[in-house]
Subunit: 131 residues, 2 copies
Amino acid sequence: MNATANQKLDANLIAMERAALDRWSKGDTFGFLEISAPDVLYFDPYLDRRIDRDELNRHYEALRGKVANKGYEMIDPRVQKIGDAAVLTYNYVAHQENGDTGMNVTEVYRKNGDRWQIIHTHLAFTKPGNS
Amino acid sequence: MNATANQKLDANLIAMERAALDRWSKGDTFGFLEISAPDVLYFDPYLDRRIDRDELNRHYEALRGKVANKGYEMIDPRVQKIGDAAVLTYNYVAHQENGDTGMNVTEVYRKNGDRWQIIHTHLAFTKPGNS
């Protein structure tokens, strides 16, 4: 893959992620479910362990309508590509009524035909002791 | 890759990770540096953003001798393989003088010739509000 194709892929994955984040900002948690694979494995700081797709469906159904924010920033997104895998990492800041929340975000995407899907999500508070 | 080869790879990556964790338990943070790639990107809950290899070298140099524990558990490790990439995830519990610390761990490994190296690490407290 040449440099131009790589830049196009980076932009493509970042656009997919932003589209799901835009829906998240409106309380719609299903944008991420729609681009996640059946074998996705998931971490976030509200859970006491890693969960799988069935548990993620229930988790995001329960959060539907409860996660809205007044806007967000995706800070310094980077894509590391390895064949049909791509690791997108960034720092996320959500602007909320009671202040900002910062998250460290990892999304591992896998190419399936022409389509990229998330096979792993890891969300965590950025330096939670100081937030 | 057939099922037996996949199982062998899983066991191999988990053994690499355990070897680095064993050194970590003794305060030796360099085990992870030795199996990390020059282009590694890294998150942990003590940092206010993602860092790169040079910053990770300094971070782990500063932590050398300060991270010892009395043993640890690697809970339910899973490997997701995509060509020359492999995503290892698990829940980690370190037994320390003042109690246990739980972490969500993501390691993305990339194959480089016959060698696997970490290109992304994401460490986060498991449900920090409740720990």
